[in-house]
């Protein structure tokens, strides 16, 4: 079944660690996005990609980085995690040229201690 997958679902990690949040989709969507969802539940766009080898920063400044080497894969990396990075991270994808909506992953809830 076509879908978008995020791993891990929950992650508790110590300050200073490097982490990578995985996001993969099986729908062949060209556009992919990362949103940060804070405790108040508001969503902020932090990264997006419109195709392989193309990435852009979103509206909310983030210390994370992303890569898009394959269409289906859009991982997010934090080189040195800090407590301020504690949040939920949602990955989504969409198709060009349609009335997209997004397809969302289930999210990764990150806690940095």
């Amino acid at each position: 079944e076509a879908d978008i997958y995020q791993t891990p679902r929950y992650l508790v990690i110590g300050t200073g660690k490097k982490i990578t949040l995985e996001c993969s989709q099986t729908m062949g969507h060209d556009k992919m996005y990362w949103y940060q969802q804070d405790p108040g539940m508001e969503l902020h766009l932090i990264h997006y990609s419109y195709g392989v080898n193309s990435t852009e920063k979103g509206d909310l400044s983030s210390e994370s980085t992303v890569s898009r080497i394959r269409t289906e894969h859009f991982p997010l990396t934090l080189e040195s995690a800090r407590p301020s990075h504690t949040s939920q991270y949602l990955c989504a994808s969409s198709v060009s040229g349609t009335l997209g909506g997004y397809t969302f992953g289930s999210g990764t809830r990150l806690t940095v201690v």
Binding site: Y33, L43, Y48, D59
Partner: protein, 118 residues
């Protein structure tokens, strides 16, 4: 950037009753897309309904319908015959028509938490 405002942080409805969630947005564009998304607790966000701004007819999906008032920049969601499974966070979102690749990004409101009581 376009802003989306949901003025109701929380709403409550009894099972089988009707509830309306409010959303307003700010844009200078004449054509765009609007969406309502549902995020159940600890579950995946899913699309509830969408509206193209150039269409005057309000979108409807089963028990969910919208009241789209373009001049007022208002896009409310009506849920009829509310069910316990409707309890979730509801987000209103705006998307530009494709103007460059960044136009695909959705701008979300802060969400409305809907409680459904038996």
């Amino acid at each position: 950037a376009q802003t989306v405002t949901q003025s109701q942080p929380e709403m409550s409805v009894q099972e089988a009753e009707t509830v309306t969630l409010s959303c307003t947005y700010d844009t200078s564009e004449s054509d765009y897309y609007l969406f309502w998304y549902k995020q159940p607790p600890s579950r995946q966000m899913i699309l509830v309904i969408r509206q193209e701004a150039y269409k005057q007819q309000n979108a409807t999906e089963n028990r969910f319908s919208v009241n789209f008032q373009k001049a007022a920049k208002s896009f409310s969601l009506k849920i009829s015959d509310s069910q316990l499974g409707d309890a979730a966070m509801y987000f209103c979102a705006y998307r530009r028509i494709n103007i460059g690749n960044s136009g695909y990004a959705l701008n979300f409101g802060k969400g409305t938490s809907l409680l459904v009581t038996p």
